[in-house]
Amino acid sequence: MTTETGIGTKEPVVRLRGVSKEFPGVLAVDGVDLDILPGEVHVVAGENGAGKSTLMKLLSQVERPSSGTVELAGEPVEYHGPGHAQHLGVAMVYQEFALAPDLSVAENLYLGREPGRFGFVNRGKEMEEAGGLLRRVGLNVGPRRLVAGLTVAEMQRVEIAKALAIDAKVVIMDEPTATLAEREIEDLFGVIKALTDDGIAILYISHRLDEIFRIADRVTVMRDGKVVDTLPISELDEDKLVRLMVGREIGNLYPKPDVDVGDVLLRVSGVKRGEKLKDCSFEVRAGEVLGFAGLVGAGRTELARAVFGADRVDGGAVELEGRKLKIKKPQDAIEAGVGYLTEDRKGEGLALQLGVDQNITLANLPMTRGLISLKEEGRIARKRRDELNIRTPSIRRRVQVLSGGNQQKVVVARWLETEAKVLFFDEPARGIDVGAKAEMFGLIGDLAQEGRGIVLISSYLPELLNMCDRILVMREGEVAGVIGREEFSEERVIALATGTGEAA
């Protein structure tokens, strides 16, 4: 989607010079120079905490810069808050959408700027204009539909349409593909292309390498609040980009150890749950990493949750080391030795207000004579902190303030404390830094080496192809097939996942 033509000759629509933002004790953005050209997709890449989000907030006027100048179309920008930024033509599409679910699509599009006079809303005009905007973003729903009934991808389109409604010159998108399925991502990129053809600049935050190379015209890499470099995508490759982001060489991102796979640990047969899961069976062996692949909504997470007892099932049997298990709730699974690391760390995994120590022991409290042994708890927490290299100023620190990678390690530590024999990792690398990712996969390898059975759920195929011994591919709630390592290929997985080219 690279459009080399014209770049470099146009006047930048946004120009930042020496922009800094200081929070108490932290220089979040440090002397940033940045030009955004009309009609380009400008990716800002960097690890968590590199300052990407703060930079976006400075542009959308959620935050005010401590120093430096921001110009829009050659005019210095005054700061009066997000509403003013929109007025100037800077729109932000948030990861969590800012829509009112009980209002219609059209009402959301014009929220706060309803057409009409004297406090009355001209609904006819609203509907008509909304229809036009929805066509531009390729959204095929009526403007009268309630937002609550839309899919996530459709809501995102409404957000983008909102940007068009204010006649935005720059649209900022913060990891817009994080919650989308592959086909929806494809569609989104199509919409982005259409917008850039109209001369709108897209400022795109991402740390998914694959999509950066699919969509970017230019990439600005940030690290520690500073801009490391801005380069056209043609001058970058994956290694170089990672090196710029991390600032050092990352060894093997997927250090899969050579493990002799042992006996069957977990055998799951005939698990059913309504339309979501249809007669799913699989097994995991000791020392094995089994991958779950499939499109979003294929039932991978549902299958893991069903085995773990997090959701009710309509039928199915689970055996651990040849022993039949009766799993009705997570407690049963945990007692039997099965653990599940949720995809949504903050929403389902961690008690954010509790300390690192308290989160680690949550599933298995050290009790003496009916009371929690605080001494033992501290010992356990320190041991796991050292073992997993959890970077925290103290074990009593609230997990809320840790980085994503360290939070993920706290969750892992909790499951290690339950002595789980089989562990389900649901998208363990989502939202964590490249460096932390390498560590996380190293850890998964170590756990397999210790003889545990690992199930790795991921939407990012390179993770599965590198880490797994076998990959189970799901499609529409069914197990579409299982592929052994010697037959691994991206095409095979995709063919099974989409149901095309069955013969492959």
Partner: protein, 333 residues
């Protein structure tokens, strides 16, 4: 994010963590001390043994019930029914003595159990029926009050044995009022439950993230229900203390009491969003309210102003809580 080394635990940080947990309590304690010192100078009657014991006895009901409320609030719940439940327990306990003829300790236990039964109903409505705690306990507020009026025909219950006065008016060793002893006992028990038992730990975990708690294998229905049972039982016990103080069962007792109780917990740092709250903080909150009420009486301030002052303090306390949360949230990005 600061990437401190894993092994270099700094004492300063550990201390700061500990302190940050107590910041809101320190603020409340500071307010308590300021009010205390002010009243000591402003009124000659304030700093007398009689008056201080009087404050202690008056605070007992709110403090005892507020310990249970703290537990509920930590789970991100609320118990609006405590005032009605206290009245129901007081009246039932009184009837057990006057009509059934049970001895005082058994009647007090009976009243507490009545409270526990109300709490069990609340708990099941919240954890099994899935009602919002606000709604579940709002219903109980009305139901319990209705039962009080039905059972008593809205008449006070008199004819209680003299021994009953002990609970709310008695003294032990050297003139320490029994209600003060009760506060201390309930506070210690509450402290141990919150900091050292499964119930306490799970309450914080459920309040912080219910789904994470469930997926960690915590039987949330059982523990959530238990929390409301404890709140109900303490409301019942508090109702017995209140009945003892006036030596009768009063059907109209405790209207609006839930506000004082919730205020005590919130002033002491309990967060209505769940996951936060301590017994010490709640006690400070309860005494702060009691001091303001007492001071208003001693200084001949129109009693209506007390309501205004306490309301303003609640605003400040909640604002402070939210301010801290916002700071934490922005620091964690």
């Amino acid at each position: 994010m600061t990437e401190g080394t894993a092994n270099g635990t700094t004492r300063g940080n550990a201390l700061r963590d500990r302190l940050s947990d107590f910041v809101s309590q320190i603020a409340a304690a500071g307010a308590l001390i300021v009010v205390f010192v002010f009243l000591s100078f402003a009124s000659p009657d304030f700093l007398t043994a009689d008056n201080l014991f009087n404050i202690g006895s008056q605070t007992a009901v709110v403090a005892v019930i507020a310990v249970g409320m703290t537990l509920v609030i930590i789970t991100a719940g609320i118990d609006l029914s405590v005032g009605s439940v206290a009245a129901l327990a007081g009246v039932m306990g009184a009837l057990l003595m006057s009509s059934v003829g049970l001895p005082m300790p058994l009647a007090a236990l009976g009243g507490t159990l009545v409270g526990a039964a109300c709490g069990l109903t609340n708990g099941l409505l919240v954890s099994v029926a899935g009602l919002n705690p606000f709604i579940a306990t709002l219903g109980m507020l009305s139901v319990a009050r209705g039962i009080v009026y039905i059972a008593t025909d809205a008449q006070s219950v008199f004819g209680l044995p003299d021994s009953f006065r002990l609970l709310g008016q008695g003294v032990v060793a050297g003139g320490i009022p029994i209600p003060v002893v009760i506060i201390i006992a309930v506070a210690i028990a509450g402290y141990v439950v919150l900091s050292r038992t499964r119930l306490g730990r799970y309450a914080y975990a459920m309040g912080s993230n219910l789904e994470a708690a469930r997926l960690s294998g915590i039987p949330i229905r059982r523990y959530l229900t238990s929390v409301y049972v404890i709140s109900g039982a303490l409301a019942g016990f508090g109702g017995m203390i209140a009945a003892s103080r006036v030596a009768s069962g009063q059907p109209n007792y405790g209207i609006g009491l839930e506000l004082d109780v919730i205020a005590a917990a919130v002033i002491g740092g309990a967060s209505l969003f769940g996951g936060q709250g301590t017994v010490v903080g709640t006690l400070i909150g309860a005494f702060l309210i009691a001091l303001i009420r007492n001071g208003a009486v001693l200084l001949n301030v129109n009693t209506f102003y007390q309501q205004v002052i306490i309301g303003v303090i609640i605003w400040i306390a909640v604002f402070w809580d939210q301010y801290r949360r916002r700071k934490l949230a922005s620091a964690s990005e």
